[in-house]
């Protein structure tokens, strides 16, 4: 690719990589949240 400007004027967000990282963080958050409830309820099952 040829030399580009740091970021394109048409791109609304100047840090696309950061956006992807933030979405990954959100995914981890959701997964941990669900697993946490699932796992705790298995370990501390009310019989």
């Amino acid at each position: 690719m040829a030399e580009k400007k740091p970021y394109d004027d048409h791109v609304p967000f100047p840090a696309p990589g950061t956006l992807v990282l933030a979405l990954m963080f959100l995914a981890v958050f959701i997964i941990f949240y669900i697993l946490n409830w699932k796992w705790l309820s298995m370990v501390w099952e009310v019989k």
């Binding site: 840090a15 990589g17 981890v28």
Partner: protein, 505 residues
Amino acid sequence: MANQTSDFRTCPTTGLKVHLPAQTLIRINAVTAVVYILIGGILALLVALTRWPAVHLLPADLFYRALTAHGVTMLIFWVIFFEIAGLYFGSAVLLSTRLVGIVFGWVAYLMMLAGSLMTEYTILIGQADVMFSAYPPLKAHPLFYLGLILFAVGALIGCILFFATVIMAKAEGKYSGSLSLVSFGLAIAAIIAVVTIAGGAAILIPTFLWSVGLLSHIDAPTYRLVFWLFGHSSQQINVSAMVSIWYLLAALTVGAKPVSEVFSRTAFLFYAFFINVASAHHLMVDPALTTPWKIWNTGYVFHLAVVASMMHALAIPASIEVAQRKKGYVHGLFEWLKKCPWENPGFSAMVLSFCGFGLLGGITGVVFGTEQIAIVTHNTWRITGHFHTTVVLGTTTAFMGLTYYVIPLIFQREVMMPKLAMIQPWMFAIGVAIFSIAMIAAGGYGVPRRHWDITFAGAPYGFEFSPTVFLLMSVMGLGAIMAVLGGAIYCLVTVGSVFFGKKIS
């Protein structure tokens, strides 16, 4: 007024004008902080090796003594001495101005030193085996409380000098417009510190009077509530200071500038506004508080403080990405990240602190702060694991990273043993992550915190933990050894450089 130019030197790398009397104060506070992390680290090893069932090093009484000393030494003395150094740095040095009231700076330092020695001494002689939270009816020797009060008043004087310096600098035209973002973040930390110290005084002074017999009674639920006004907000000082250091290190290591000043400043303001309401997460199983209050707080209000951290978590990597893209690293989504100065301990410490605090500390904090979860995990190792990912992996690692800049800038010495310095943040952070995750997992099986012997040997009523627990506790022990080694390298490199490093003229 002492404002002669002879009191200043100009830093050859940054061009900042450094006020020499302020520099001496920064040095002495920072060195004292490092001495305390050294002591706290030795205690950490003793505590961790006792809780590792296969080793079980200390007898019960010494374990609780070491645990009290570890909590107080690290959470209060290491962190706050470093923060006071940071406040003087963030005001006088970053604004290229003089520190107002140098004499009071020395008074503050001596009070903090005397107070901390007093408290450490009472713990050491076995007169204060009450843990750092010191819940009544546990009662310590009066000197334990008096030492903490002296220390807090000293720290308060330090905060006042910070504000006075900032105001004076403005009046003298040392900066125009608003404060730089880093100084602004530190100002937020100092504001929260004032609230915190007021809370500390409100609870420690009566408790002190109770310990000398002048008050007959301390109401335990009130103590717990007010204690956490102090205990929780003090963690928010740490968070604000840590985030300010992230911005500073991003600027120093890759030349990052805040993408949006308004956005980042708003996030800092959120800390100041919403921090105290989050203290409820310490009291989720406290019978003295009502359920609606707990649900209102943990279900709704405390997320406002979380939002602030999420905003910084977006702003900081974005500022790094923009700075790196300007340098031409524009290929793909992540070339900018690959081309970051990973071999620079200042940079790696910042990223490790950032990721550790966000991914481990932040997520576990939000999840465990939910009321229903808190009921199951309260007083287990899940909590201890959680706060070691925030205040150790987050705050402490960030402070370590900043130290690699403080040594050349303030001590005017080159960092010795650069290879060791390079691996230091990795070793420390990965060790902390390992032992904290193991703690969190063991806590999920119900392993209690502050417990000398979970096998209950010789007790009339035993309890069998899942065998997995013993595996997890061994992993904890190994991670702790790695973290302590990383901490030892930090002490070695900093003390070595400060006293024997090559002088920078």
